[in-house]
């Protein structure tokens, strides 16, 4: 197991290095520079700024320096959006806001999606199954901003007399509700479909017949015997999805004006805030890698037949 973990950590570092390099070259390939705004500064100013932030050096030298600093835990400082503030500080300030909304969204998505998937599988072919299928197909195919806008319109004053929740995020419990619903709706629908498929597979296994022959109640058969075997694909999906959701739904954060990390992904690219682009990307990549490792450990917990160390 120790050997396995060491391998995984080395792999993670290599992956992060690749992500960092790719992002670095791609972001530099985008036309434009951080200093362009409504008032275009003079060439002399641009040159001076480039020199100040080391952007005048060859790319490979810049990359080398960045990676060198990164190893020491230095993500650099923002050069545009929050000028001269350390990127790490920005991330650590913004992430908790996104994470709070994200955790709530993922929790409700799992708590609703998995049981609904079980229900659909158990009631296969009935109107319940059809109804859930329609809802989930809509949820999977509808973009997040449509869900968010629909919620905003219907529950925040768009309909006369109905104003249940604040339209803008202000940190109060009530203002969490709509962003969480909007953010969790897609994963909920996706999870429900995944669970249904996996459950149909495990419900038809022979050990379910054994469980019924033993005289177990339906609930025990479904939730103890069938669900545990159906969890593998669910967990596989859930791992990276948790990372994405916790790092902020870009769209949802914009619609509800949540001061979270998600908005910084987009805005840092729009503003060519190079260190911030690098910082947010590497943060998300690291998060996903950690989640995938967690997923693998969960496999082992859910299914004792899985051997993590063999085959490596």
């Amino acid at each position: 197991m120790t050997k396995y973990m060491v391998r995984r950590v080395i792999m993670a570092i290599v992956t992060l290095a690749v992500v960092a390099c790719t992002t670095f070259f791609l972001m530099n390939a985008i036309p434009g520079n951080p200093w362009l705004s409504e008032k275009t500064p003079t060439q002399a100013t641009i040159d001076a700024l480039n020199a100040k932030y080391g952007l005048d050096q060859p790319l490979i030298v810049q990359l080398g320096k960045y990676l060198g600093n990164l190893i020491q835990g230095d993500f650099g400082t923002s050069i545009k959006m929050q000028k001269n503030r350390p990127v790490l500080q920005i991330i650590l300030e913004m992430f908790p806001v996104s994470a709070k909304v994200g955790i709530l969204a993922i929790v409700w998505a799992v708590l609703a999606g998995v049981p609904l998937g079980c229900l659909a599988a158990y009631k296969r072919g009935t109107w319940i199954d059809s109804f859930l299928r329609i809802v989930c197909t809509i949820g999977i195919s509808m973009p997040g901003f449509v869900v968010a806008t629909l919620l905003l319109h219907t529950l925040c004053g768009g309909i006369a007399g109905v104003k249940l929740f604040p339209a803008l995020f202000d940190g109060t419990p009530a203002s969490y509700v709509l962003p969480c619903i909007a953010l969790g709706f897609y994963p909920m629908c996706y999870l429900s479909r995944q669970t249904r498929t996996a459950m149909l597979d495990s419900i038809n296994q022979e050990y379910i017949k054994t469980a019924r022959a033993k005289g177990l109640k339906n609930g025990v058969i479904i939730f103890k015997h069938a669900l545990r075997n159906a969890l593998i694909p669910v967990i596989t999906y859930l791992g990276p999805q948790v990372a994405f959701t916790l790092c902020g739904g870009l769209v949802v954060e914009t619609v509800f004006s949540i001061p979270g990390l998600g908005r910084y992904f987009i805005q840092s690219i729009q503003n060519r805030d190079y260190p911030l682009i690098m910082g947010t990307t590497i943060f998300l990549a690291a998060f996903i890698i950690v989640m995938n490792l967690l997923v693998d450990v969960c496999y082992k917990i859910v299914d004792p037949r899985i051997n993590l160390t063999r085959g490596n």
């Binding site: 050990y207 017949k209 109640k217 075997n229 037949r305």
Partner: protein, 347 residues
């Protein structure tokens, strides 16, 4: 005591009819099966794949899956009407009164739970008061009874850590842990190799003696029937074509299908030049069963009447009956001779 219970009737299946309502039409998977089973008895149900033997067994324990449905007849266990039970009564009934073990022990145990968990769960489902420790103790006793050693270690192991024979022993332990009166064994030895087969059969016989239960043993292996069964029902295309004691079936088979089965079975005492004789033809299309005797198209003695009408049962001995026109013809001839001799005596 044992002798006394032997005569008591445990299970009575009467004219059972099970149909599957498929989009292509109604399939009469079981069409009028009747038999009695006493305590301490093993009833073998023999037939080829698709003859309805498993469907028949599933309806006893209430595990028929849609679109299968019992459409007629009755099943009575210890005088209780099984088919009249509600869904929740059936849940309690399964496992405590009737247990079932299946063909493939490799897939019948849940791979993600320990043996101990799956054993005690069966016990605790039917006995709410029993404590965890007590249940574990009972489970370990049961494992010992089915010939598993090192039980404490086994309790914590997962199915994939055990061999096939061991898993089937666990399945048997799981079935018997609540002391059911009836055990349904659906080809329990088919997936095992021959030496393990013999051990499992031996074990089942031994446990049956101890628990005085009745066993319905489904198989297509006549060798296994000879080994363990007291009575045999031969099924063909959802119908019971012959029924009798093991001796009746093996030494005096009354139905051409039974004879065919016996001839196609390899025997140790056969001469080396003897060849196995297969039953020619293919099984019946259950969607369009023939009008008369379902075996008629494959039978070597087919007569006109066979293709037109299903023969009634003819008693060939105390508990031996077969459904074949040949036997009816024979019996009529015998009667005629009898009356003739009676007539001549009268003269």
């Amino acid at each position: 005591m044992e002798q006394e219970r032997k005569t008591e009737k445990l299970l009575e299946v009467k004219d059972l009819q099970v149909s599957f309502f498929t989009p292509a039409g109604e399939v009469k998977a079981v069409n009028g099966i009747s038999y009695d089973l006493n305590y301490n008895e093993v009833m073998g149900i023999v037939g080829e794949s698709g003859s309805g033997k498993s469907v028949e067994a599933y309806s006893i324990i209430g595990l028929l899956q849609s679109p299968g449905k019992v459409v007629g007849g009755s099943i009575t266990l210890e005088g209780e009407d099984v088919l009249a039970k509600t869904a929740s009564e059936m849940v309690n009934f399964r496992g405590s009164q009737v247990a079932m073990i299946f063909q493939n022990p490799m897939t019948c145990l849940n791979p993600v739970y320990t043996i101990g968990n799956q054993l005690t769960e069966a016990l605790r489902a039917h006995n709410k008061e029993i404590s965890k420790e007590e249940a574990a103790k009972r489970a370990m006793e049961m494992l010992e009874q089915v010939g598993i050693n090192n039980v404490e270690k086994r309790m914590g192991q997962y199915p994939h850590e055990l061999s096939g024979g061991m898993r089937q022993r666990v399945m048997i332990a799981m079935g018997l842990i609540c002391h059911p009166k009836l055990l349904i064994a659906d080809e329990p030895t088919t997936a095992l190799d021959v030496t393990i087969q013999a051990q499992i059969l031996e074990l089942m016989k031994e446990l049956q003696k101890k628990n005085h239960m009745g066993i319905v043993f489904i198989t297509h292996n006549l060798g296994v029937v000879a080994e363990i069964c007291d009575k045999v029902s031969v099924m063909y295309a959802g119908k019971m074509v012959e029924q009798g004691s093991v001796d009746d079936i093996f030494y005096n088979p009354g139905h051409p299908y039974t004879k065919g089965l016996l001839r196609s079975m390899p025997r140790v005492d056969a001469e080396s030049y003897e060849r196995l004789i297969p039953i020619e033809g293919t099984p019946v299309d259950m969607l369009n069963p023939p009008e008369g005797c379902p075996f008629a198209p494959r039978c070597e003695h087919t007569m006109k009447v066979c293709l037109q009408k299903m023969p009634p049962y003819v008693n060939m001995g105390r508990e031996h009956r077969a459904a074949c026109w040949l036997r009816i013809q024979e019996e009529m001839k015998n009667r005629q001779e009898e009356s003739e001799t009676e007539g001549s005596e009268n003269e």
